[in-house]
Assembly symmetry: C2
Homo-oligomer: 251 residues x 2
């Protein structure tokens, strides 16, 4: 019996990422958070604040993946066009969402909920809100598309609020070993080990630290027992090459 794999795609909406002005800080967080829920991030796209591009991209990826997450473009300014673009992608009208308006009314002092801020209450018709405990203005979900903020602290709060709305399978586990040998010395034996463990994804990542060319080897799979077994064989392979493997502590 093959286990069902739940897949996701991240769409990062923002000229500021594509111009190199801002470094994305959401992909790695989302990848790890999804994995804990048994969902695999299979692709990410960075696209500009251009409605036609957002619409085309969303319609392509929401058909191809179980879950789609977007980040960015849901603030109060003219370049925040994610809500209307999502509405167009789904062929739904863009409405002032009464529930979202109530959230903003409760948050802003009397008289400060101006027309611009009210832009943040707009969602496609029939969307369900995603709570924002940081700065109130909510994200929203339409079918399998989850629209999150671009600011990392807000994006994280929104993602963590999703809870049971994300159904997944068995999380991937990983084992990492590093060794002070260049990739090309280990790669032959590693290739053979990979061939023997088709259910495990073996990655090889060269590093250069303190003048030493080394390699970090990462084994990923859903079966902890198989991972331990493969990691033991990998450690034996490394010792056979006259080196000593050490475990990576992940950040």
């Amino acid at each position: 019996m093959t286990e069902r794999v739940f897949t996701a795609c991240l769409v990062i909406i923002g000229n500021e990422i594509l111009s190199g002005r801002t470094q994305d800080a959401n992909l790695a967080y989302l990848a790890k958070g999804l994995n804990q829920r048994g969902i695999r991030l299979m692709e990410a796209r960075v696209i500009p604040d251009v409605e036609a591009t957002i619409v085309t991209t969303l319609n392509e990826v929401r058909a191809a993946f179980d879950y789609v997450f977007t980040t960015g473009g849901i603030g109060p300014t003219h370049d925040d066009i994610t809500a209307e673009s999502v509405a167009k992608a789904f062929g739904r009208p863009l409405i002032e969402n009464p529930e979202a308006r109530a959230v903003l009314e409760a948050y802003y002092p009397a008289g400060e909920l101006n027309e611009r801020r009210l832009r943040m209450a707009r969602t496609p018709e029939g969307a369900s809100l995603i709570e924002n405990r940081v700065s109130s203005a909510p994200g929203f979900q339409v079918e399998n598309v989850f629209v999150l903020a671009g600011i990392p602290s807000v994006m994280r709060a929104m993602f963590e609020s999703l809870g049971p709305r994300l159904q997944g399978g068995t999380p991937m586990q990983s084992r990492s070993l590093s060794v002070a040998l260049p990739e090309s010395v280990i790669s032959g034996g590693l290739g053979e080990l990979q061939a023997a463990y088709a259910d495990i994804d073996m990655g090889s990542y060269p590093y250069h630290r303190d003048g030493v060319y080394g390699t970090t080897l990462v084994l990923r799979g859903i079966d902890g027992g198989r991972l331990d077994e493969a990691a033991r064989k990998l450690a034996a392979l490394i010792r056979g090459l006259g080196a000593e493997p050490y475990e990576e502590t992940e950040g």
Copy 2:
């Protein structure tokens, strides 16, 4: 007369980025480097080390953009499958490139150019090499697709070696102003200014520093005079709201 816009797409190949283990460090560098050459990065995709995905993605984006850059997957291990995937995308045979082999032979001490390292001499037939001054194993170009290493120092050296192989237009310039006012206070006037300057892309980016909610406003366009004019109007708009704009020093 409208100026021709040169466009580019970056394809980041690597399970380690999609698992959240590694943070991409190439997008921002490439975006800025391309802009200096008058080429605009319009999209980036992060995809796994899966041949079918690489082939499909490459064939889609090389038809849609003037230039395509890939990073990752050109090392000596079993998970380095970029060269064969690019060959498949172009329908060309994968060969041992004699020029690439000569480069590796000159770099490695006698007897150390093993079978695994020779994998790094493989390119699609007819590819032209991209020099790697850091660790010798070259990247390569096929038509409008430039295949670069994933390790940032190597990727940068390869990109800088391209010189006249990248033809572009007029670089985008930018002007940045920051102000200690929340986005939603400025957004009305900013939207009007954007409407008056259709040739300038105006971005608004909220920040939260030392307890202050502020906004950085970025104007981008190819005409420095128009940018200066729009920036003066923006500064006047901010002063009209009772605040003082300050210039951002970019990193």
